[in-house]
């Protein structure tokens, strides 16, 4: 029977070898999360992830059951990404989303079926999502691609509930307005 995150945390505190199970469990998920919210190359993402996991290991004693381990490690990873973006002093401009992800994000945000979206619209959708300010894009990705609950998003982005709800609603509205203007829906 696979061990729970909580159990792995306790075991990792005693022996770092147990931490490899946590790395294996979250590596892919977090890799794609970083890819979705940033413009970094795969090599850079691997470096950021390595740094995130080491930070997580150092902070293992700070983890408590107030939030799920998944939310906690997303929070640490997101902070590392933000620090890296600041370090490189660049704004996130290029969206590294696959067509499938674009369709999911777009349809989820606008509450429409994926099948409705024509394949030739993907470029336009990408442009629209790219034009969204980072703070809106980030919460929409967390909500509709990472499928995180509002409570989890609050903990990951460290913003109050009202602010998160407002960011999601405003982001959806901006997407809808732009999609209507470009006759995508």
């Amino acid at each position: 029977m696979p061990k729970s995150d909580q159990e792995l945390v306790e075991l990792s505190k005693k022996n770092p070898d147990n931490f490899s199970e946590i790395v294996n469990r979250y590596w892919t998920r977090l890799f794609f999360f970083i890819k979705r919210i940033s413009y970094f190359s795969n090599e850079d993402i691997e470096d950021i992830l390595q740094e995130s996991f080491i930070k997580t290991y150092k902070n293992l004693n700070g983890y408590n059951s107030e939030m799920t381990f998944s939310t906690w490690i997303y929070q640490i990873t997101r902070n590392t990404v933000i620090d890296e973006i600041r370090k490189k002093n660049c704004r996130v401009k290029t969206v590294q989303l696959e067509n499938q992800e674009l369709a999911e994000l777009f349809s989820g945000s606008l509450d429409i079926k994926k099948e409705v979206i024509a394949k030739e619209s993907f470029e336009k959708i990408k442009e629209i999502i790219q034009s969204l300010p980072y703070k809106y894009r980030e919460v929409l990705i967390l909500r509709f691609l990472e499928e995180k609950s509002y409570e989890e998003i609050i903990d990951i982005v460290k913003k109050p509930k009202g602010t998160v709800a407002a960011l999601i609603n405003r982001g959806r509205k901006m997407l809808l307005e732009e999609a209507q203007e470009q006759n995508i829906i």
Binding site: N24, W27, Y57, K58, N59, P160
Partner: protein, 257 residues
């Protein structure tokens, strides 16, 4: 592939001898934030209690003796800005610090600001009613530099241009008093039968008085009201006396030398 990554990370942890940091060390920042926050709340509350002390110096009969325009001028020029700024700094920093606590980001701005303001006002009011503010201001009064930051309550009432004067009676004559202010200025205070003198105010040498009226000339002041600051303080602590004292006062009986 993932196994390779985990292997690299574990190797790095082992080779750099990285260990999970202790709970105490990880929470130290949070404890420090809470400590500073608590200190700021107490500071803000004490500043508010001193501000209340200032407000409590005004009473209706005294306000009536000063013209409205002069009254507002008096209020603004004598406002204890130092304490007011300290209250605002405490509330502002308290708000920001609460946000920086471990789970502070979950609280809404309205909740945090209401909480911080409520704490400052409640503790401040408690300090006022338990007279901690009185002792505190007296303590500060002994510091010479404090007079430059926030003038004492007595010196706030020495503003003849704005219709208020306070000091100790030196001599008493039929229709005039000679008083000495805290800045050692000697003033002649004229009064007559129309002058309202608060009950229990004794016009005798060495008594402190608070005079409302207008400046006639240099170091001459015409009194409309005269009251004793000491009685005023006692009045606040006694509800029965308070009711009587808030009245219009009594007309001046013919003074007997």
């Amino acid at each position: 592939m993932e196994n390779n990554h985990s292997k690299n990370i574990i190797e790095k942890i082992k080779s750099n001898k990285i260990e999970p940091e202790s709970k105490l060390r990880l929470n130290l920042k949070n404890y420090l934030v809470w400590l500073i926050w608590g200190t700021l709340m107490v500071l803000g509350a004490l500043a508010f209690s001193i501000f209340l002390l200032y407000l409590s110096n005004f009473d209706p009969s005294f306000i009536r003796s000063v013209k409205l325009g002069r009254f507002f001028g008096f209020i603004f020029s004598n406002m204890p800005y130092f304490w007011l700024i300290l209250i605002l700094i405490s509330i502002g920093s308290g708000f920001l610090l609460l946000r920086r606590t471990k789970r502070g980001y979950r609280l809404s701005s309205i909740f945090i600001s209401s909480l911080v303001i409520l704490i400052v006002l409640t503790i401040g009011a408690a300090a006022h009613f338990s007279k901690i503010n009185n002792r505190l201001e007296k303590g500060f009064g002994r510091i010479p530099q404090y007079q430059n930051i926030s003038p004492s309550r007595e010196s706030r009432f020495i503003s003849p241009e704005k219709g208020v004067l306070a000091g100790e009676i030196l001599t008493v004559d039929k229709n005039k008093l000679e008083i000495e202010t805290i800045q050692n200025q000697k003033w002649e205070v004229l009064f007559d039968e129309k002058t309202i003198i608060s009950p229990r105010t004794r016009l005798e040498p060495n008594e402190k008085v608070l005079v409302g009226g207008e400046k006639v000339s240099n170091y001459t002041f015409r009194a409309k009201t005269i009251k004793s600051p000491q009685i005023f303080e006692k009045m606040e602590s006694s509800p029965e006396v308070k009711g009587k004292m808030r009245g219009p006062g009594r007309p001046m009986p013919p003074f007997q030398n």
